[in-house]
């Protein structure tokens, strides 16, 4: 059972890396930086529901560190990790209170991810000038969260199995 879990974590981490890479291939076609679909979050949500919080945390952190080193920079690491951690904690708590479904969990994760990133960007830039991005980032977090949530929910039900009990 243990080795099965380890291999699942490995596969999901690899999948998250591939999804990050696929997403990095899209050019910056939107005028506001930081707007992303967050494809890798499918793997993280899957892990959160199927394996548990610690496993999802591991996958998320490894994914962010590796993809920042490969496709980004050390600086992008700092705000990516802020977004990833806040988003995962919010999704975990929201899942845990058992009131919401996957799509709402994913939306909350998307919005908190974007807010975490802009918060970190404010700290790095030492300026409040970019708080004006917050409304756009909330809306884009909602939009991408719905898409990722629907995909994750489909994937989870197709690969029907027990939920992680945490």
């Amino acid at each position: 059972m243990q080795s099965r879990k380890i291999s699942q974590i490995g596969v999901l981490t690899a999948l998250a890396m591939v999804l990050s890479y696929v997403e990095s291939l899209f050019p910056a076609f939107i005028a506001v930086p930081g707007i992303k679909i967050g494809l890798a979050n499918i793997a993280v949500i899957f892990a959160l529901y199927r394996l548990g919080f610690r496993e999802a945390l591991g996958i998320s952190v490894v994914r962010v560190v590796l993809s920042s080193l490969l496709f980004g920079s050390v600086l992008s690491l700092s705000y990516s990790i802020a977004g990833a951690l806040i988003s995962l904690v919010v999704m975990y708590l929201l899942k845990r209170i058992r009131l919401f479904g996957i799509v709402a969990v994913s939306v909350a994760g998307g919005v908190s991810h974007n807010l975490g990133q802009i918060g970190m960007a404010c700290l790095i830039l030492q300026t409040g000038a970019i708080v004006y991005y917050v409304p756009v980032l909330i809306l884009s977090g909602v939009a991408s969260g719905v898409v990722i949530g629907l995909v994750s929910s489909t994937v989870l039900s197709r690969l029907g199995e027990e939920d992680a009990d945490e």
């Binding site: 910056a28 005028a31 919401f100 479904g101 830039l125 030492q126 409304p135 977090g141 039900s157």
Partner: protein, 122 residues
């Protein structure tokens, strides 16, 4: 997957309220309709330069890392030495509350109006 009706309803309420929050903030924090008069350049939170938007010109900043162009009362990032050039893709800005951010170089260009720096009210 448990997806009973109550869960679905709560999902929709949560998602809708976040969307409404976003839209309300979008209206409250929208760029002011009047054009700004000055482009303010900050690096690491420190103002390093101010340029009146009335004077066209090209300014090399930040030790050559960033170049801004001012033309017809608007400003844009013309060139930048950074990985993604997201600041360059943002194009022209001219109104209060708008900004161009070059995160890798820690540079922010904002527009100031005639009245004040912070002039939005909640």
């Amino acid at each position: 997957m448990k997806s009973d009706k109550k869960t679905r309803l709560r999902d929709i309420i949560l998602i809708a309220s976040l969307a409404v929050l976003g839209l309300v903030l979008l209206v409250v924090m929208r760029p002011s309709s009047e054009s700004g008069s000055t482009a303010v350049v900050q690096v690491d939170g420190v103002v390093i330069a101010r340029y009146p938007l009335s004077e066209d010109g090209i300014h090399v900043l930040n030790g050559g890392l960033n170049t801004i162009e001012i033309k017809d009362g608007k400003v844009r990032m013309m060139e930048a030495h950074c990985p993604n050039h997201e600041c360059v893709h943002q194009g022209w800005i001219s109104r209060g509350h708008q900004s161009i951010v070059c995160l890798p170089n820690k540079l922010v260009v904002t527009i100031e109006g005639d009245n004040s720096v912070v002039d939005f009210t909640l």
